[in-house]
Symmetry: C2
Subunit: 79 residues, 2 copies
Amino acid sequence: MRAKVHVFLKPGVLDVQGKAVENALHGLGWSGVEGVRVGKTIEFDLKASDAAAAEAEVKQMCEKLLANTVIESYRVELA
Amino acid sequence: MRAKVHVFLKPGVLDVQGKAVENALHGLGWSGVEGVRVGKTIEFDLKASDAAAAEAEVKQMCEKLLANTVIESYRVELA
């Protein structure tokens, strides 16, 4: 089973990396770009009996390691 | 128009960040995890007349700034 985890900074948290990208895009002439947010995507293969068990396991991985839940939110996708 | 750009290392390129995450997950007891790849997701709002023009513009941004096309591949999503 292939798992995909999307990790993003929570809406209220200042995204300095996103701001830097936004400024760089403006500098290159794309002035219509706004609200840039940069996140991480972590993909991996997982041995699991069923989708529900896999999702529970991946969520535990997020809470323990993949996301800093104080400032980041995450979304799990299984395929 | 909201654009989402997914940037990943190309398949042959060693993903050291992914390897580090994999080792950390193994260390925490998730030994069934394999083939971890870590990528970036860049989301932003874009002023564009139509979807085709927007996609062409975002692809140009990827080529110029958002992805290092020597070692990274990208995928554009528009919504």
